[in-house]
């Protein structure tokens, strides 16, 4: 009996400077398979569709349930999470490539440290470190929680940056994720101690002004963050902060 199969085409690159090559794989179809599980199967038996032995494919993944943010890659041209990309919903052959805007490490693995640097640059945290007990924090009312919760869902997958036409080496744009986190931490009763600093940081080169409002970020975000709303709100806050700074200088 001829069993149903799944065709994959994967872009591979042995090192950052090695030439890119496409390899084809054919796997036996199984119910519920997704792109990450397919990559695992290839790792278990790394043989290409035409029978050549090859190396297992390098990729990031961790939670396997779209909550850690590590498995972002381009699947049939679009950035998305591999673990939630069900094979049955994809056109075949499934073409898999690494994200295009981040330095390549190997195969499908890229270095997305820039997001971490950006989050540090805007102090995207609540400052509670100290040498003594600070006691319990201020209350956050449910109404405020409703606004903040969706923003706290970011999994740092960088999909919003990958699809952003403004995120590139020319602009050095900070990207939507960091802007959304600025809104989140500025809303926090303790986090807002850094509000002015965060807003000033975002007015730097590569800051919020680089956004062209193409709205790709909000379309692609796997966690459905209200990114364009955040960009709009934070833009206004940055503008007001700059105006205040100018008048008080």
């Amino acid at each position: 009996m001829a069993s149903k199969t799944v065709q994959l085409e994967i872009k591979r690159q042995a090192s950052p400077d090695a030439p890119a090559v496409w390899e084809k794989f054919e796997l036996e179809w199984r119910p519920g398979m997704n792109v990450t599980s397919s990559l695992m199967e290839i790792a278990a038996n790394p043989v290409t569709a035409d029978g050549h032995a090859t190396t297992p494919i390098t990729y990031d993944s961790n939670c396997l349930e779209e909550i850690c943010g590590s498995c972002a890659m381009r699947i049939n041209g679009k950035a998305r999470m591999a673990c939630s990309a069900l094979v049955d919903n994809l056109e075949q052959p499934i073409r898999i490539e690494p994200l295009s805007k981040f330095p390549l490490v190997r195969d499908l693995q890229v270095d997305r440290a820039v997001l971490f640097e950006n989050l540090k640059a805007v102090k995207a945290w609540v400052p509670v470190d100290g040498t003594y007990d600070l006691g319990s924090g201020p209350r956050v009312f449910p109404q405020q929680q409703e606004v903040n919760y969706p923003l706290s869902n970011c999994i740092s997958c960088t999909c919003c940056m990958e699809v952003c036409p403004q995120f590139n080496e020319e602009t050095g744009f900070v990207g939507a994720a960091t802007i959304a986190q600025v809104k989140l931490f500025n809303n926090h009763p303790t986090g807002k101690v850094f509000k002015e600093e965060r807003l000033r940081a975002l007015a730097g080169d590569g800051g919020i002004q680089e956004c062209g409002f193409a709205q790709n970020c909000v379309e692609v975000c796997p966690k459905k963050l209200p990114l364009t709303n955040a960009i709009s709100d934070v833009s206004r806050d940055v503008l007001i902060q700059k105006a205040k700074d100018f008048l008080r200088s």
């Binding site: 805007k101 820039v114 640097e117 036409p165 002004q209 790709n216 709009s232 700059k242």
Partner: protein, 255 residues
């Protein structure tokens, strides 16, 4: 590989550099670009389209409008400070914004992404068109500030060429598009409409405005090519009485 490294960037890495927190002046230049698009450029566009509409009342009324505009105090300074220089800056900085972005509608054919791309192409059409329009109508041929009565015929001769007419029609639509979406972008990016629903509603408002302006512009063009004012003399006398008579004619009698 290794791109120019900003001193504040924490580590030397290839790829997109992290935010240069609080450094540089691009925020100011970008916001200036954005603001100028509304005031004075957008305001001037409205004035220009309204003035064009006077053409429907005939050559004398149109000439009188040109004379009125040129009689404004310090008009030559106004012209440079509120029209030429802002448009030049908005246009050049706009091209600079364009070349630094990378359009990706092939992979992500979403509405917002289309509009992002359209805003760049309509802007390019606008700057090319405005360049030739200002040169040919303001700085070449008979000088209209001195001879406002010649305004109608000058435009009429221009539009008599079907290629020129096509250029004007395309530019009119592109500019109204660019302005309408520009207002929307301004409101979105300055935090005036942070809500999804509000942005959608305001999108309809802007679309209606853009459409109305484009129609208004195209209808005014009709005055110059319609048989009614065929062969307008190169300079029409602009007496107040004549103006009065021309004004008395309702616009719809032309159509």
């Amino acid at each position: 590989m290794a791109t120019a490294q900003h001193p504040s960037a924490p580590t030397l890495r290839p790829g997109v550099q992290p935010l240069r927190a609080g450094q540089g002046t691009s925020f100011l230049w970008r916001k200036l670009h954005s603001l100028l698009g509304i005031i004075p450029i957008g305001a001037f566009l409205l004035e220009h389209l309204l003035s064009n509409f006077e053409a429907l009342k005939g050559p004398a009324a149109y000439g009188a409008q040109v004379r009125f505009l040129n009689s404004l105090p310090m008009v030559r300074i106004l012209e440079w400070v509120f029209i030429f220089l802002p448009i030049l800056y908005h246009g050049l900085y706009g091209v600079y914004i364009w070349v630094r972005g990378n359009s990706n509608i092939v992979y992500y054919p979403w509405a917002g992404n289309w509009m992002y791309t359209a805003q760049r192409y309509t802007g390019l059409i606008a700057i090319l068109y405005i360049g030739q329009h200002v040169l040919r109508q303001r700085f070449m041929g008979i000088s209209l500030p001195e001879n406002p009565g010649a305004a109608f015929a000058k435009v009429q001769h221009e539009l008599a060429n079907p290629w020129m007419l096509a250029v004007y029609v395309i530019a009119m639509i592109a500019i109204c598009w660019h302005f309408a979406y520009g207002i929307w972008l301004f409101a979105a990016k300055w935090g005036i409409i942070p809500g999804v629903k509000a942005r959608k509603r305001f999108g309809f408002v802007c679309a209606a405005l853009g459409l109305a302006l484009a129609i208004m512009g195209l209808v005014s063009m009709w005055a110059f090519i319609s048989p009614r004012y065929k062969n307008t003399p190169d300079i029409v006398p602009l007496t107040t009485t004549q103006l009065h008579i021309q004004n008395a004619q309702p616009a719809y009698t032309l159509l």
